[in-house]
């Protein structure tokens, strides 16, 4: 009696569970579709053919979501495009950005880690003031200092230098990574969780601070290193404001890929129906970044959580 009653209860429970699971699947699938629609639109646009097979022009901004004709022409055009007098501009932009991103990634990660470690594990006089000042400075939007940074960099010849336009890449790297150390909060949050006892016992064993940092802290800090590296690597691919001012509108040869893509849509150069090539460029930029994210997802989550959830 009681046995069978229990069974029925189990059954109904599992049924209601199945129903709720079904509903969950449904909601998630609907949401996934919503999430993918705009991104798929870019991908589809990248493959959209601007020309009818008979050779007539169809137009770029068209109202149908799915293209009538698809092909790889946009990608070909993109890589062979001469933009603002720069032949094969897109490949050069990608290369510039890659160089900038890699160097920035190394410098910024190093700065953030060192500041985060100091703030978390070392005790010294100016610790609290430093934390407060860095937080206050961080409240001013960075473009406010853009003009000043331009002229400071110009003073040391790293931008607005017609003889050596390539120097502005160094200038941009400086501008990007200079402020990085001030964004130490997440790293500090991470280091805070590493028990102090570990550091203290190492100290008693006669380890120098440097040794502790290198041999104890750094091996433990792999997630935060990867998180920081990921963040500072992706930064240069996304910024389109600073880069244009520092590299200069007259140096399209040294633009980063985001400045180039943005200009393809929003400047007089754009009077050329470049939307589908823009989309192709977006896909090419997005692929490596998305792949990186997918592989390093775990660390990304750890990083975000370390910075945000510290109790």
């Amino acid at each position: 009696m009681s046995n069978s009653g229990k069974k029925i209860k189990y059954k109904s429970q599992s049924r209601s569970r199945r129903v709720s699971l079904g509903v969950t699947y449904l909601i998630l699938i609907i949401l996934s579709v919503i999430w993918l629609i705009p991104l798929l639109w870019i991908v589809l646009s990248a493959f959209r053919c601007q020309y009818h097979p008979d050779g007539t022009f169809i137009g770029t901004v068209t109202s149908d979501y799915f293209p009538k004709y698809v092909g790889l022409k946009n990608f070909k055009d993109l890589f062979s495009m001469t933009f603002a007098g720069v032949p094969n501009a897109f490949g050069k932009w990608v290369l510039n950005t890659l160089i900038i991103a890699i160097v920035c990634c190394i410098i910024s990660t190093f700065l953030v880690l060192s500041v985060g470690y100091c703030m978390s594990k070392l005790k010294f006089k100016l610790r609290k003031p430093f934390m407060n000042i860095s937080m206050i400075i961080g409240l001013f939007p960075s473009f406010m200092s853009m003009i000043a940074i331009y002229f400071l960099l110009k003073s040391i010849g790293l931008t607005g230098n017609p003889e050596h336009p390539e120097y502005s890449i160094i200038g941009l790297i400086l501008a990007y990574s200079a402020g990085a150390g001030l964004g130490f909060q997440i790293a500090k949050g991470f280091f805070d969780v590493i028990p102090n006892a570990l550091v203290e016992s190492a100290k008693l064993d006669g380890c120098t601070s440097f040794k502790i940092f290198r041999q104890i802290i750094l091996p433990l800090a792999k997630p935060i290193i990867i998180y920081q590296a990921l963040m500072s690597f992706t930064g240069p691919w996304m910024d389109f404001i600073f880069a244009k001012v520092i590299i200069g509108a007259d140096n399209p040869r040294y633009w980063t890929v985001s400045v180039g893509l943005y200009s393809m849509l929003f400047s007089a150069f754009a009077d050329k129906n470049l939307f589908t090539q823009f989309a192709a460029g977006c896909v090419i930029v997005a692929i490596p970044i998305v792949t990186l994210f997918m592989f390093l997802q775990k660390y990304y989550v750890e990083g975000v959580t370390a910075g945000a959830v510290k109790g």
């Binding site: 709720s20 699971l21 909601i27 998630l28 949401l31 999430w35 993918l36 629609i37 705009p38 639109w41 870019i42 901004v61 700065l111 060192s114 470690y117 100091c118 070392l122 005790k123 010294f124 206050i136 409240l139 001013f140 939007p141 406010m144 200092s145 853009m146 003009i147 002229f151 400071l152 110009k154 990574s177 200079a178 402020g179 990085a180 150390g181 001030l182 805070d192 969780v193 120098t208 601070s209 440097f210 040794k211 996304m238 389109f240 404001i241 893509l261 943005y262 930029v285 997005a286 970044i289 998305v290 994210f293 997918m294 997802q297 989550v301 975000v304 959580t305 910075g307 945000a308 959830v309």
Partner: protein
């Protein structure tokens, strides 16, 4: 060890006492110090040479020579000098009008570039500050060698100094690059921009003699905000409150929608028995991974006048005219544009919270639920009584930081609506946040003084919010409890 005992002692001194002590220290060092230390007051590194610390002494000396040369020779950039002339120029009283023209040679002289005068003035002040810092370090270093000698120790060698840097002074080694970089590329530029709030620097409304000349005008700009005079007063007085209130509304809605949306999404994905968790998570993470200027411009295109969505709506007869979802044309609905940016922001923002809460949800102690189940609580009840409070408790700091982050959500507005719909006669449009308004006013229009005034107001507001919440947060007050 020693630092631990010293620090609290020092903290007990009041400020005047500390200043007094610092001065008596200077006096004491000069009187008590060796000949080398005395000389160090005038020639950097003299004391170190005296103590045979040649490398160190040489380094000090090079710095002194370099800075003095910098101050005396006044190198010029764009015709504006650094050095002592820059300090003099900071008053802007020496700005001169040029534009004499020699038909054979071209220009003979240009107008002074006041913005560079101000900027270089601040840089020079920083250099002077560094000079005195190094001056003090050099005396201190020599004096310490004196003291070491007195107690019979050998003055430290250069190698010992370097070793010290890797140990007790490790923080100096680690922080110096950031300090220098942040001073040059963040602090100085920020001070420069703020100072323009007290000037007449407005590129578009300069006098007819050229746009490089301006002068300090004290608090006039702030007065103008209240009287509404001039372009600065007109813009700020009429647009500040609407922009500010929208910034707050936006920040509140953007934060809450993404926050709760993210929690719900995390709950859905982490539901027991659900297959393909990783697959779903990957889809949602796409919006974080794809650069915003790509994803947001895609949305803007989708919603454009000839985009697929408008054409769909027109095909099914829902509307006869394309709808201006994003307020890109004057006359488009402001409320619709505001609604749309909040919705689109959810698309970008929800995955962040989802990622974060996923981890937390899995870490909720199972016995909490067990206890709930024993009490016969329903799933919904358990969600509201256990899950939600737990998550909120843990993520409060994130909530605060994302609120401040949303107040400064430049991309979401700039790339979607561009601040539109625009209002005739004003820089600030209907969906402009303080931060995008600031961008338009300074970078697009060149009204630098107006931008600086808005910047100061904005700063006061965000700083207050941040400081109040941050100081109350556990992260600040109970920093050491974990350690």
């Amino acid at each position: 060890m020693s630092s631990k005992t010293k620090v609290p002692k020092k903290n007990k001194l009041s400020l005047p006492e500390r200043i007094g002590k610092a001065f008596s220290n200077f006096g004491k060092r000069f009187v008590d110090g060796s000949l080398g230390t005395k000389l160090s007051h005038f020639i950097f590194g003299a004391g170190n040479f005296y103590h045979k610390q040649y490398i160190k002494g040489f380094l000090f000396l090079v710095i002194q020579v370099a800075i003095l040369a910098f101050m005396i020779l006044c190198p010029e950039v764009n015709g504006t000098p650094y050095g002592w002339k820059a300090l003099r120029n900071l008053s802007l009283k020496y700005a001169t009008e040029g534009s004499e023209f020699d038909p054979v040679l071209g220009f003979v002289s240009f107008n002074s570039d006041c913005k560079l005068m101000v900027l270089f003035g601040f840089v020079t002040i920083a250099v002077v500050a560094i000079y005195f810092l190094v001056w003090n370090m050099n005396i201190q270093s020599s004096y310490k060698a004196d003291m070491d000698k007195k107690i019979g120790k050998k003055p430290t060698t250069f190698t010992e100094d370097l070793k010290e840097l890797l140990d007790r002074k490790f923080h100096v080694l680690m922080l110096t690059p950031t300090c220098i970089a942040a001073t040059v590329f963040t602090l100085l530029p920020t001070i420069f921009m703020i100072s323009l709030a007290f000037s007449t620097y407005n590129q578009q409304f300069m006098n007819e003699n050229g746009t490089n000349l301006f002068h300090w005008n004290g608090l006039e700009n702030f007065k103008a905000v209240f009287t509404g005079e001039g372009i600065l007063g007109f813009e700020i007085r009429n647009r500040f409150l609407p922009v500010l209130s929208w910034t707050f509304i936006w920040a509140i809605f953007a934060t809450l929608t993404c926050y709760f949306g993210g929690i719900i999404l995390a709950l859905l994905i982490n539901k027991k028995g659900l297959k393909g968790k990783k697959f779903f998570r990957t889809i949602f993470i796409l919006t974080i991974a794809v650069p915003q200027f790509i994803s947001l411009l895609a949305v803007r295109n989708l919603l454009g006048e000839y985009g697929p969505i408008n054409s769909l709506l027109m095909n099914i007869g829902a509307t006869t005219q394309p709808i201006g979802f994003l307020g890109l044309k004057p006359g488009d609905s402001e409320s619709l544009a505001k609604f749309m940016v909040i919705m689109i922001n959810m698309w970008v923002g929800i995955p962040y919270t989802m990622l974060m809460t996923s981890g937390i949800l899995m870490n909720i102690p199972a016995d909490l639920y067990e206890a709930g189940r024993v009490d016969g609580a329903s799933t919904t009840k358990m969600f509201f009584k256990i899950t939600l409070p737990y998550v909120i408790f843990i993520t409060t700091p994130y909530l605060i930081s994302s609120f401040v982050g949303n107040m400064n959500a430049f991309n979401s507005i700039f790339l979607l609506t561009g601040g539109g719909p625009t209002y005739t006669g004003y820089a600030a449009g209907g969906t402009d946040l303080l931060v995008t308004w600031l961008y338009k006013v300074t970078i697009d229009q060149g009204w630098y003084n107006t931008g600086a005034v808005i910047g100061i107001f904005t700063f006061l507001i965000t700083a207050t919010i941040t400081l109040v919440t941050y100081r109350r947060s556990k992260a600040y007050n109970e920093e050491d409890t974990f350690q």
